[in-house]
Subunit: 215 residues, 2 copies
């Protein structure tokens, strides 16, 4: 069965998935790279960028699951580019000619444009749709594999609120951002639908997994 998964979405202790203000020079606003340092330290990441070394424990294990079994991603407009990217016809995302997705990616936007096909199997599609509609499209493209909800915080929150997420993996980083975009707002009682596990890593982060109960 094709699942809807969120893989290692990182938030601060106070629940922000990104800082502010987001811009071309600061995709995560004042958070900088602090939400993702745990990931940069893993062997998985080092291999991806062609560097030796890195940690091989729990952070690495979770990092490696990012792509396993994924057939498509859905992301929000704010993940695809800085504010106003839709006015730049040349903008093709942050990730260069060979983005790390290697599947169809559906970008939720109020400014649809033609698809962009890049190297390595990544094609960006631009859709104006509700979470449920976007999921139907992405599922078709995923061809039996899972669909990853890639973020940002607002998009994940919308999919959670619509009860569309089967597996949620959140990484809580022990910093206080104080401002930005919150993940958890408006999700009172979410835990009732899930088995929740928490496991802390020697790196200082805590991995939270929400696995939907089979009723």
């Amino acid at each position: 069965m094709s699942l809807v998964r969120v893989q290692f979405f990182s938030i601060s202790l106070d629940g922000f998935g990104t800082g502010d203000v987001q811009s071309r020079d600061a995709p995560f606003g004042h958070a900088g790279e602090r939400l993702h340092e745990w990931m940069f330290a893993t062997r998985s990441w080092r291999e991806r960028v062609g560097e030796p070394g890195g940690t091989g424990g729990i952070d690495d294990a979770f990092a490696r699951l990012h792509d396993v079994g994924i057939g498509a991603e859905i992301m929000g407009a704010n993940k695809f580019g800085p504010p106003g990217w839709h006015r730049d016809p040349e903008w093709k995302g942050w990730w260069g000619p060979n983005p790390p997705f290697h599947t169809p990616v559906f970008v939720l936007t109020h400014h649809p444009r033609p698809p962009i096909e890049l190297e390595g199997g990544t094609t960006f599609h631009f859709v104006e749709a509700s979470p449920a509609e976007a999921l139907e499209t992405a599922r078709e493209a995923a061809d039996g594999r899972d669909v990853r909800i890639g973020g940002g915080a607002t998009v994940i929150r919308d999919f959670l609120a619509a009860r569309l997420v089967d597996h949620l993996h959140v990484v809580v980083v022990p910093i206080l951002l104080g401002r930005g975009v919150r993940l958890w707002d408006g999700l009172e009682g979410l835990e009732r639908d899930y088995e929740v596990e928490a496991v802390s890593s020697p790196s200082g982060v805590t991995h939270l997994t929400f696995t939907r109960r089979t009723v």
Copy 2:
């Protein structure tokens, strides 16, 4: 040296230290007892209420530290009683004739009244004071031992913002309350002054400790 400590203040994943609306029947509002179930399951708690059994692991270890080395507590008006308690001359707190503090307790309030001396060494003093002023008074009463900041969330936040806390122990419970009083608001960058550790328990909660760096 006398330290200022917060011991096992429990918050939800979305950062609320209490739900709403607080009342005489619901001291933690709609959160009920869900923020403290991890504690009720420990041997430490069971011993306190005269029951057998209970867990003896990490939750119990942290629970036992609540009183160790403490010579006084400072609490907010909202911990001492439900909204409007100051209009009830008979209100003596939630805890009955023998409260679990066994030290002087300083209640921050805009409605001071004479001290209340109860069994077991607990005396409630009512003070209208800034965090720093209240701490000076409590330190004197603690006579070389530590001062516990007992909550609620607003009071802990105020003491953190004033940089008065040496050791902060927070228990993150895997539920989403959605509303209530937040602990972390306005504390951007707090982690810079502390060594932060996170450790998850088999019970599902995560214990966070912030230990002030000795500069």
